[in-house]
Symmetry: C2
Subunit: 113 residues, 2 copies
C-alpha cells in the first residue's frame, strides 16, 4: 500500500494523499506523544531524557521516532547544548494550542459533573 507525501522525503504522512496540508498536519499531530512533546517544550528546551521523563517515561523508541519526525517537519530542533527545543515554526504551532489548557479545565469539569 503505497503512501506518499510530496512535501516530505520519508515517513509519508498518513492522510496526506489528498495533498491538503491540514490533513498531513493533523496526521502528524495525531501520532502518539506528538502533541504531548510539543506541549512539554512550550516553556523551553528539554534534553531527550528530561523529555522522556516529562512524557510519563514514554519508550525511547517512539520518543526518538517522534523527535525525528518533528525535526523533519521543522517544528523542533536539536540545540547541541540544551537538548530539544521548538523552532520558530514550532512555537507558532504551540501558540495555537495555548487555549487548550483552559479548555481542558472546562472539559474536565464538564466530565466530572
Amino acid at each position: 500500500m503505497p503512501k506518499q507525501a510530496p512535501a516530505m522525503k520519508k515517513r509519508a504522512v498518513r492522510g496526506s494523499r489528498t495533498g491538503r496540508p491540514v490533513m498531513a498536519l493533523l496526521d502528524l499531530l495525531g501520532r502518539r506523544w506528538t502533541l504531548r512533546i510539543l506541549w512539554e517544550l512550550r516553556e523551553g528546551p528539554l534534553t531527550s531524557r528530561a523529555l522522556r521523563t516529562a512524557c510519563d517515561e514514554a519508550s525511547p523508541t517512539v520518543m526518538q521516532t517522534r523527535l525525528t519526525e518533528l525535526r523533519e517537519a521543522g517544528l523542533i530542533e536539536l540545540l547541541p547544548g540544551d537538548g530539544y527545543g521548538l523552532t520558530r515554526l514550532g512555537q507558532e504551532l504551540n501558540e495555537t494550542f495555548l487555549p487548550l489548557h483552559r479548555f481542558a479545565e472546562r472539559w474536565s469539569k464538564h466530565m466530572t459533573d
Copy 2:
C-alpha cells in the same frame, strides 16, 4: 500496568495519571483519526459512513472506537437523523483548531522550500 482516569469510566486516558486535564486531553486527541474526525465535523454533522469516507476510508473498527471515545468525552453526539455532530463543547474545542488550517498552509510552504 494499571492506568486510571478518574473523570472517565472506561478506556483510561493515557497520560492522565498526573490528574492534569490537559494531559488527558492531549492523549485523547493524540489517538489516530481523533483530530481528523473533529476536523471533518467542523461544518456540520456527518453520518458514520460519510465520516469514514471523509477520513480516507479509515477502517470502521477504529472509527467506531474513536466515535465512542469522543462521545464518552462529550465532544460529539449521535443525532438520530443526521449522524454524528459536535456538541457545544466539541465546537469550542474545534474553534481552538481553527487557526490550524492557516498554520498548515504556512507550514507546508516552509517544508517545500
